[in-house]
Each structure stands twice: as C-alpha cells, then as structure tokens.
Subunit: 222 residues, 2 copies
C-alpha cells in the first residue's frame, strides 16, 4: 500500500503520504473548493487527493467545520489589500465597497462556502477595515460607521446571491422563465416584456451602491 499512488498525477511540490502537514491539507482543500465548490470538499475526496487515508485529515485538522474555517482563513490571507481609488469621499467609499464585491466574484466558490459557514466576516475583515477607514475620512464615525458598513455589506451580499443564482439553476426557475408566465392587468406590456430579460448585474450594483452611499453621506451633515 505504501508503493501505489491513486493515480500518476504529481500535484503539489511537496511530498505526499509522509511528511504531510496541516498546511498541505489546507492548501489541497482550498484547491478542491476552487475547482468544484464547497460540495466537492469532502474528507474522503481530500484524503484521496493527498494520497492518504481519511482519518489522517482528522489527525491534522479537527473535523470538517474546522477544515472549512481553515480554508476561509487561508483565502483571507491571500486576499491582498487592494487599492482604493477616487478623490471624493463618495468615490472612495464606493471603490472600497467595489473591491469587496469584485473579490467575491473572482473567488465565488470560497466566498459561497464562507457565506454558508457564516464566516464572511472572517474572510473579508481586512477589506472591511479599509472600507470603514474610508468612511471615517468621509466623516462617518461611531455607530453611524458601523451601520453604514453593515448596510453596504448587505447590498454586496444581496447582489452576490442574485449573481450566483444565474449559473447553476435549471431554466424553469430563472426569473425570466417565471415572468414569462405572468399575466397581470396591473402591469404594462412593456414592463412585462422587460421582466423577461436579464439585468446587467455590474451596472445595477454600481447604481444601487451609489444610492446607498449617498444616503449614508447625506446623514453626516445633520
């Protein structure tokens, strides 16, 4: 059993099956998630990937919940602090918010996993800190800053849910399909037609976020 490896693939640079450490396990787990989503992260698949018995995972990490948290933490480290752009307060706050949004889009599988595990703050804390810093510069402080942050994060989370839904869902559940079956007197035909189409999530995000940030900044002067 010591001689045979599952398949011939030489994946990571590290040796496997002996000298395996916690970091190797987490790296492999993150890779598994990025390739196949959170559902692909099973103890058995991960063990197979590492050429090791499932119980070995339990020795290095605790159980699956702890593994997920470790994966999220690793991704959090990798999310290098991105730069904030813009001159006005409005622009800079929006830019910091957009950074979180774009990052989540770029790493959707890990982000979805974190959301599911209730660990989004763990994942985004550095980026959120930057956002709050920009709010401070804009004069939003204390409880107002906290509420502003939560508000902005809610909008981001909402758009992520909306965007994620598009791919993996059967056609019969798409809004476009369902609206095509609606026939209501209260709605004009032009609106009904529009509802059968798709929105550009990026443009919509920008517009919505602008309204929310404007609302937040408007409260400062009171």
């Amino acid at each position: 059993m010591t001689e045979t490896t599952q398949d011939g693939s030489a994946r990571t640079s590290s040796t496997r099956h002996q000298g395996l450490d916690r970091d190797d396990v987490i790296d492999a787990a993150l890779e598994l998630v990025e390739r196949g989503g959170g559902d692909a992260l099973t103890m058995r698949k991960l063990a197979a990937e590492l050429g090791v018995s499932p119980t070995t995972i339990y020795w290095h990490i605790g159980n699956r919940d702890e593994l997920v948290l470790a994966v999220v933490r690793r991704q959090a480290e990798r999310q290098a602090a991105t730069r904030v752009r813009g001159r006005s307060a409005q622009e800079r706050v929006s830019s910091a918010a957009r950074n979180i949004w774009r990052n989540a889009l770029a790493h959707r599988n890990v982000t979805a996993l974190a959301t599911q595990a209730g660990a989004t703050t763990l994942l985004e804390l550095p980026l959120e800190t930057t956002l709050v810093a920009e709010l401070e510069v804009a004069g939003v402080r204390g409880v107002a800053a906290r509420d502003a942050l939560r508000s902005i994060l809610a909008v981001i989370a909402g758009f992520l849910v909306l965007t994620w839904r598009r791919d993996d869902v059967p056609d019969e559940l798409h809004p476009a399909t369902l609206w095509a079956q609606v026939d209501d007197d209260r709605l004009s035909s032009q609106t009904l037609t529009a509802l059968k189409g798709r929105s550009d999530p990026d443009k919509l995000f920008e517009r919505t976020m602008r309204s929310v940030v404007e609302g937040i900044l408007a409260d400062v002067d009171r």
Copy 2:
C-alpha cells in the same frame, strides 16, 4: 408490518401508510422544513414521519430536488397576498418591499431552502408582482421597472443573509467578536467600540431601502 406504526403519534388528519397521496407528502415535508430547516428534510426522515418506506416518496414525488420545489410551491400558495400601505409612491413601493422582507423573516426556513435551491422567484412571484405594480403607479416602467425590482430584491436578500447569520453561528465568527480583535490606526476608538456592537436589522433595512427607493424614483423625472 401493516399493523405497527413507528410511534403512537397521530399527526395529520389523513390516514397514513395507505391512501397516502402527493399532497400529504408535500405537507409533511413542509412541516419538517419549518421545524428543522432544510437539512432536516431527508427522504428517510420524511418517510419515517409518514410511516412509510423511503422508496414510497420516490413513487409519489420524483427525487429530492423535485420535492424541494414542490415544498416551495406550496409555501408560495400559502403566502396570501398582503396589503400595500401608504399614500405616496415612496411609501407604497417601500411597503411592498417590506412585505417580502417580513414574509421571509416569518418563514425563514422555507425561504432559506428556496434561496439555496435558487427558487426564490418561485416563492415570491406574487409579492414581486405587487411590488412591480406599485412601481408602475409611481411611473417606473419597462427596463427601469425590471432593474428597480432586481435592485430591491438584492437589498432584501442581503439583509436576510445578514440576519440569518446571527443565530446558528459560533460566537468566534460573529462580527462583534472579530472586530474586537482589530486594532488599526485608521479607525477611531469610538468607531472600533461601535463595531463591537450589533445593529438593529429592521431599522437598518428601512433606512437602506429608503435610499434605494429614493434613487429609483429620482430617475423617473429625467
């Protein structure tokens, strides 16, 4: 085997183990979800609940995915159309949005299940239609109405994610706990203190939604 029932509980008014039909299965499934969340909806538990073998479920409904959709459809029927309040366009649109939000809070388990299955539109279509109708009255039509709807739904979804997270998640993952460990020069001490506290999700929802609806209605006159 025909004589013994799992336990002595007489649950629904209908007979069980014979004369069981599709509707009974869906009702029991919905009840299971409302009690224990989506994870509690397993074919085997549902079968046990009905005093029947798991394979029977497959005969009446298809597989688990179809069962979930059936459950969501049933809940959609039950969500009686709620009344829209307010006089101004701003108030009425917000009221229609709030109806969706409140409904989701009241039936969080089914709503979470629907979200997970990508079937929120299936669940909310009647309430969404009412919302669009109010947008029409406010002069928002066609593509603008569609985008406004999606925008508003994103905000609702975001606040749901934010609110759901509060209960079932370990303390070490709560924003309050994580922010307590942050020490960043860019943040004032009063803001750091505030970040350790919780926001009132309802108030925050109202304020954020007001900004978004204002933004939507402001575009009408252009």
